[in-house]
Symmetry: C2
Subunit: 211 residues, 2 copies
């Protein structure tokens, strides 16, 4: 095994696919398959010992699914590079996988050459995925920073007051921070509540965070 060889582990319950992948990897210069598993439990037991560079993970498997397996593996090996290799391209599966700790998301229809490239990219700090998958991630990402419409008609000062409210400050603490009287803070809050159509600090903070 040369310095540049990438070691790979495969977790996949279908024998044909698993064997096909192993053959592809071992038959390619610069790649070496060091572990094959047909279920999450086995992978969870042996991957921490094998310490492969990258893991190809299926989602649908008996007992422990791929997403659960990733979560458990990441606890032991936070730096382990994992990419999903699945037939599913629905948002749910994609988001859960990435949040569980996967860095890449590949479809099984990915041609062999592209798959080897993807393993390279994953090992070199990239997140291999099709541009269609990337779009779903980008859209989810865009939603996190969306709206703001709830608080947009607040005045600058009201925004400021609300921001301290959202830090858990009490009236007096806000007053002291901004060098104004508690009564002024109360007046601002009343106006903020009016504009946001809420009746408590918690509701106001919820709108502040777009929850």
């Amino acid at each position: 095994m040369t310095m540049n060889t990438i070691t790979v582990a495969i977790v996949e319950d279908l024998d044909d696919i698993r064997n096909g992948l192993a053959a592809l990897i071992n038959g390619s210069e610069g790649y070496r398959c060091v572990g094959v598993f047909s279920n999450g439990e086995d992978a969870l037991r042996d991957v921490p010992v094998l310490k492969p560079d990258v893991v190809l993970m299926d989602i649908d498997m008996p007992k422990m699914n791929g997403i659960e397996c990733i979560k458990a593996l990441k606890v032991q090996l936070p730096a382990l590079q994992i990419t999903m290799l699945t037939v599913f391209e629905d948002d749910e599966k994609i988001f859960r996988s990435l949040q569980a700790g996967a860095s890449g998301y590949l479809l099984k229809k990915t041609p062999p050459v592209k798959l080897l490239e993807a393993i390279q990219e994953l090992h070199h700090g990239g997140s291999p995925m099709s541009s269609q998958i990337a779009r779903k991630v980008v859209q989810a990402f865009q939603q996190t920073g969306e709206s703001k419409k709830q608080t947009e008609n607040l005045s600058p000062r009201e925004h400021e007051i609300l921001s301290y409210l959202a830090k858990g400050y009490r009236y007096k603490e806000i007053a002291d921070t901004l060098f104004i009287s508690v009564e002024t803070v109360r007046t601002h809050l009343r106006n903020i509540y009016e504009k946001l159509q809420v009746r408590s600090r918690t509701e106001a903070v919820l709108k502040y965070f777009n929850k």
Copy 2:
């Protein structure tokens, strides 16, 4: 212009790059450059009239920068497909661009052939970007669903109570919802505050949302 021709607009302040891009696009079968702009203002005025399929947008430009330009364009044309084309690969610029409404993020060092492919992908609902850029987006995405450690030692019932607190419910409303007495809710809250080391509902809700 055939049915399959993709119309492109370019917003880029550097003459050489702008002209080079226009030449590349017009010199390629299936692509047509319908507008070139050296600043955001001009683009904002003419792009809504030209209605190109995709827009290549630079970030650093005099007066109105590319990110501001995207925000303004997206208000008028929410379905417009825009990709950044820039030298910057820092997180800040990437996230701001995507949140402003860009779907793709390409670097200027992208080779011409790849650039044309990326325009295709963008037009077909993908989000073209290198796997390195994708990794940054994935990491940001992972952080949104991270932690949970703050509230993990709460009992199931306490979690439930806290979840209602985080919806802005008052003691009485929680009590009525769960068919328990207000006093019980208060007891739970006292225990929750103790475990989370907070002294107010707002602080508790903040921890609940990992803020």
